[in-house]
């Protein structure tokens, strides 16, 4: 059963609360990843020195301007306020039973604010929230804190887990490391309803990150639409292409049950047979022709080829490291096992 909490919604005061820093952190302290530290004095000092707002007679830090928000974040975080890092280590010492606060000794008088960052990049301080140690210019490597200071990992045994004994993992045969074949294309069923029309190949469809965009940004700027092929092309093997009578820069129609993509082919010996690549990610704002196979509706982008499947044992919960945390644990939106049909586009229709 989930846990239930009752909270008050004060809808008419949402704006007031949005622009003011509430007092719960002052009362309860802050922390993350199992750490905890008190901020009362630093908070109250900030109220005196930084913009503040009065609500029901109590002073609250103002969050009206983004810059004020930045300073509240920086001054109340351990990686940018050495005194708070020291406190957080002190708290961890009690839990762990070993000396740790010396890791912050040299940083106690370091405090970074927004204007400091604008002047020059600042390095993050040691903090028990992160597992790497960076004293004296040491490069950050994870788990050096655990290994050198004997602080457990946040797992069932506190050690690195080679064996995963959650009942769900036992059920799925993943309690031990193992090799599982990828989902078989027929059963994965991207092509249950799609038909081959004319010479067609079935390929595995990959969408890696490319050189000329970051996701869908930059790929559509003026330089790229001028210097590139004016679209997000499909990379395919030369022998595969030849078998479909496709030469470089021909238009191709890529389809499966989930949707359709129409774009140009880049024919390259770099790509192994059986695989094709469309770099992440096209935009519908440019170079999307219509698809003859789908009633001449406009085609789509790389995610027109995908459909979500979740891996069930990654849902395990309530058990050591198998316990939910936002963006931390749970099934993922995997997409690399996608299968498609590709054929030469019979006619280009915009």
């Amino acid at each position: 059963m989930p846990k239930f909490a009752v909270v008050e919604r004060d809808y008419k005061n949402v704006y007031e609360k949005y622009i003011s820093y509430g007092h719960l952190p002052r009362k309860n302290g802050l922390g993350a990843h199992g750490t905890h530290y008190d901020i009362t004095d630093v908070h109250d000092e900030l109220v005196r020195t930084n913009p503040s707002r009065t609500i029901d007679g109590a002073e609250h830090l103002s969050l009206e301007r983004a810059r004020d928000v930045a300073n509240v974040i920086l001054v109340l975080a351990t990686v940018t306020n050495g005194e708070l890092a020291w406190r957080s280590y002190k708290d961890m010492e009690e839990k762990v039973g070993l000396p740790l606060a010396d890791l912050a000794d040299g940083n106690r008088n370091v405090r970074v604010q927004f204007a400091d960052l604008q002047a020059q990049p600042r390095r993050l301080l040691n903090s028990p929230m992160w597992s790497g140690l960076t004293n004296s210019g040491r490069a950050y490597a994870p788990f050096t804190y655990n290994r050198e200071r004997m602080v457990p990992w946040r797992t069932l045994t506190g050690r690195q887990h080679l064996y995963l004994d959650h009942p769900l993992y036992l059920e799925f045969g993943e309690h031990v490391p193992t090799y599982k074949p990828g989902p078989p294309p027929a059963e994965f069923a991207d092509l249950r309803f799609s038909e081959k029309v004319g010479p067609t190949l079935e390929l595995n469809y990959l969408t890696p990150h490319g050189k000329w965009h970051i996701h869908s940004t930059y790929g559509e700027n003026e330089r790229m639409t001028t210097l590139g092929r004016g679209c997000d092309p499909l990379w395919m093997n030369e022998t595969d292409a030849e078998s479909l009578d496709i030469v470089d820069n021909d238009w191709v129609e890529v389809h499966n049950d989930n949707g359709v993509v129409v774009t140009r082919a880049v024919v390259s010996a770099r790509i192994p047979r059986g695989i094709c690549i469309q770099y992440h990610s096209p935009e519908r704002t440019y170079s999307i022709p219509k698809s003859p196979l789908r009633g001449h509706k406009r085609a789509g982008g790389h995610n027109s080829m995908t459909r979500t499947r979740l891996k069930v044992n990654l849902m395990a919960g309530g058990y050591g490291q198998f316990t939910f945390h936002f963006n931390y644990w749970g099934p993922t939106g995997c997409n690399r096992d996608t299968q498609i049909y590709v054929r030469k586009l019979p006619e280009l229709v915009w």
Partner: protein, 848 residues
């Protein structure tokens, strides 16, 4: 001088070089402001933005990174060809300059507002009329956006939020914004607003498939990796699924510099990718077969460096820093043994009254063979007795030293034949494992083996005295995980694998573990990625590489590292005001709400599981059924949480006599148990359970991030789609109410904050002009380096744009004004939250 005269003048008197004026003008500036790019590229590069006459003219890499230490090359300059072209966007035709609204909606809204004084009533009149609602839904993605004023947009958005809260519940308002670390305050804007009103924040890292599940599986850690400078400390770099110069452009120089410094670098890639040019060796593994490679590498490492050579550093490391010595209970089944759960300390007489004894575990002491209970386990973490959550090799009860046994091989000679799965061949194999018997408090005995010995059997390492299906030698392809076996999957010959495995382990042995795997989406995006990663990580645990500079699993997919997490999350999740939050794992949300679950049957159709799994159990059901059970068990969140409005649920509980939170919780639990109240996930296609309002900011939720984009168009948006799938799940689903007809167009309203007119903007109902990365103050951090960067307003937001922070501030203001009439007094809301990591809920459920 006319321009013609000037040209002649230049030709006649070239020494004055007046043509250079054009060039100089182009690169003049009044001031320089530091900013960066919030694009989830992981770069987090410090840039100087040059401004002239209030116009951003160009950007250049900043050159003032502090040096880490004299032995490591400097970070600067950071930046790539993409970032240096960003200033184009500010004044480009793609820039969203004004607020826009879908014309079909705007016309209806103006008419409704003329008929209703109250904007909430006006919005209700539209969404309760299917014909009207369909009009703007069908127009989505078909153009027709019209410029409109800010106030109209803010009023409509606020009215839709208040109406949804009243009629459906606040958790029907959802927001998606990716990866906060790239612009933390901008992320915080929408999520703060959502959490103040009780809306749902959607996750991103798992949805993007950037989350490497093996990391929480093995370390209890989302992701924690080496900064790129630490590559220089590695002596062996194995690069797979990551194309460094292509996608880690500002960091790649550390790999080149490491090679100049003598580091060996091997690149695994099925194609001749760009990073191959840096490699000493290119191993063109078959795509998606990385797991097979590492399983066989581990076979070799365990056989040669552990079993035969007994490499002390490796064995000591595994004994102290891994679960290798812990005892696993073996149970007899069908004439063989099955490996089960870890043996709980509380079941032994000596530890029977131990606090959290079910969550403390056992090893055997090498000296006297007795079971002992090491400190540092999760039971020590969440016990009342503090100070015993550490890795010192001592017993948690009497403090005595422990010298834990890794293996029982040879000491008493007892073995058990254990059944293991060979999924590649779809068969069971049986291998002897050294075991002991341990007496429990009730006098019965259990058979146990160490994790280490079970792994030795699973990796098929033949050892004297152990019979069963072990391979004869490396050339025996009939048993899994030999180099000969791996050939079949990887396409790489066994000699190459043997050479790699030996070099890998001996480098670790001679350098104290300085072997690093640089890995990325090329591996992480497969369905079984957790197994591939896990095998690679095992190689580094076996060789003592984790937790040292120059060693470990360097996974770079997404800019997930938000360094100042503690204070940021208090603001971003409004925890400074509201102690509980609605945080949703997006993969489940989209799989279910966009009805992608309807297009498949039993997950066992494609996920290979052991023979003989429980029929209808987790390993033999439709994925949506598993997800429903996971929500009921408190494993995963799901919002909308109930079929009913959560505000009404509290009101009902109070009417039934509940006077406090405990009373409300009890009422809710009773109603759920009595099946009078249903979780929304139990009937997600019922109109009452649909999400209604979707706020999108800082991301491209409907294209780049929309796995199953065409199903979004169909079931969320209610517009044209190109999928041709038919619902298949009807007979397979047991836990959810099945609707023959799938809903189309679940969402009433989609709002997109954007500075680019991208695909998400094209499909939204309202597009709000957002400030670019050179027009707002914000913070940015990454795991590629250990610095924190500002984004700064080099110029004010152009045209009518505003920063995300200011936009949600404006929405909050407008919302509060409208809400004052409908909610003059505070109301109570009940939040259903899953069992959470880093809380005592880690010891909530010992069994299913």
């Amino acid at each position: 001088m006319t321009s013609t005269n000037r040209w002649i003048h230049d030709a006649v008197d070239p020494k004055t070089r007046t043509w250079e004026e054009f060039y100089r003008n182009r690169w003049q500036f009044d001031r320089v402001v530091r900013s960066t790019h919030g694009v989830n590229c992981t770069g987090s590069c410090s840039w100087n933005i040059h401004v002239k006459d209030g116009i951003v003219t160009w950007e250049m890499q900043a050159l003032d990174y502090p040096t880490l230490d004299a032995d490591i090359p400097p970070y600067e300059p950071r930046g790539c060809q993409r970032g240096i072209s960003f200033s184009w966007y500010l004044y480009s035709p793609l820039r969203v300059k004004y607020p826009y609204m879908r014309g079909a909606l705007l016309d209806l809204w103006r008419k409704a507002r003329a008929e209703h004084d109250d904007p909430v009533a006006a919005w209700r009149s539209l969404v309760s009329d299917p014909e009207k609602r369909g009009r703007w839904q069908r127009a989505r993605g078909k153009g027709g956006l019209r410029r409109v004023d800010w106030d109209t947009c803010l009023e409509l958005i606020s009215a839709s939020c208040v109406q949804t809260i009243q009629d459906r519940g606040p958790d029907r308002i959802a927001g998606f914004s990716p990866i906060p670390a790239m612009s933390m305050i901008s992320y915080a804007s929408g999520s703060r607003f959502l959490q103040l009103i009780g809306g749902t924040s959607l996750s991103f890292y798992d949805w993007y498939c950037d989350l490497p599940n093996a990391s929480p599986e093995i370390w209890g850690e989302q992701t924690d990796v080496n900064e790129s400078a630490d590559w220089f400390n590695a002596k062996f770099l194995a690069v797979m699924g990551s194309n460094l110069n292509m996608t880690r452009t500002p960091d790649c120089h550390f790999a080149a510099e490491a090679r100049h410094n003598g580091t060996k670098m091997v690149v695994f890639s099925p194609d001749f990718s760009q990073v191959v040019k840096y490699a000493d060796e290119w191993i063109p593994l078959n795509a998606g077969q990385d797991g097979a490679w590492w399983m066989a590498v581990n076979h070799v490492i365990l056989k040669e460096f552990h079993h035969e050579q007994q490499t002390a550093a490796f064995l000591d490391y595994c004994r102290v820093y891994s679960d290798s010595p812990f005892l696993v209970e073996l149970t007899a089944k069908d004439g063989a043994f099955e490996a089960g759960q870890l043996l709980r300390a509380g079941r032994l007489a000596g530890y029977a009254d131990e606090e959290n004894g079910e969550w403390k575990f056992l090893v055997c002491d090498e000296n006297d063979g007795r079971p002992k209970m090491p400190m540092g386990t999760v039971g020590h973490r969440w016990g009342d007795a503090k100070g015993k959550w550490n890795l010192l090799p001592r017993d948690g009860r009497d403090g005595s030293d422990i010298d834990a046994s890794l293996t029982f091989l040879g000491d008493v000679g007892a073995t058990a034949r254990v059944r293991l799965d060979d999924f590649a061949e779809g068969r069971s194999v049986h291998r002897d494992v050294p075991v002991r018997e341990i007496e429990l408090a009730d006098g019965s005995k259990v058979t146990v083996a160490t994790v280490y010995d079970i792994l030795m059997a699973q990796y098929a390492v033949p050892r004297d005295g152990l019979g069963g299906d072990y391979p004869a030698d490396y050339d025996d392809a009939s048993q899994s995980y030999t180099p000969a076996w791996a050939e079949r999957y990887t396409g790489i010959d066994r000699k190459t694998l043997l050479r790699f495995a030996r070099q890998w382990a001996s480098t670790a042995e001679h350098t104290g573990g300085k072997c690093t795997v640089i890995i990325g989406a090329g591996v992480n995006h497969w369905y079984h990625a957790n197994l591939m990663y896990r095998a690679a990580i095992h190689s580094m645990i076996f060789c003592g590489c984790v937790g040292t500079n120059g060693g470990g699993m360097a996974h770079y997919v997404g800019q997930e590292k938000l360094a100042p997490m503690e204070s940021w999350s208090s603001i971003a999740l409004a925890k400074d005001w509201v102690p509980a939050v609605r945080l949703q794992n997006t993969p489940s949300w989209h799989y279910i709400n966009s009805d992608q679950s309807r297009y498949e049957k039993n997950a066992r159709d494609y996920h290979t599981v052991p023979d003989g799994v429980t029929p209808g159990g987790y390993a033999d059901c439709h994925t949506i059924d598993a997800n429903v059970r996971a929500v009921r068990q408190g494993w995963l969140p799901f919002y909308p949480q109930f079929q009913k409005n959560s505000l009404d649920v509290v009101a009902e509980a109070e009417a039934a006599g509940a006077t406090d939170a405990a009373g409300v919780s009890k009422h809710v639990v009773d109603e759920l148990v009595a099946r009078k109240l249903k979780f929304a996930i139990e009937d997600p296609d019922a109109e009452e359970a649909w999400p209604r309002v979707w706020l999108i900011w800082r991301g491209n939720a409907i294209m780049s991030s929309a796995k199953g984009h065409e199903y979004f168009l169909d079931h969320y948006l209610g517009t044209h789609t190109n999928h041709i799938s038919e619902s298949l799940a009807g007979e397979a689903v047991k836990e959810v109410t099945w609707h023959e007809m799938a809903p189309q167009g679940k969402l009433d309203l989609i709002v997109d904050l954007n500075f680019r007119m991208d695909t998400s903007a094209l499909y939204s109902d309202i597009v709000l002009p957002a400030a670019t990365w050179y027009e707002k103050d914000d913070l940015n951090s990454t795991d590629m380096h250990s610095f924190i960067h500002p984004l700064s307003a080099a110029v004010p937001p152009c045209w009518e744009s505003k920063s995300d922070w200011d936009i949600f501030k404006a929405i909050a203001k407008s919302f509060s004004k409208i809400a004052a009439k409908h909610y003059p007094q505070p109301v109570n809301d009940v939040i259903a939250a899953p069992l959470l990591h880093d809380t005592p809920a880690e010891i909530a459920q010992a069994g299913l």
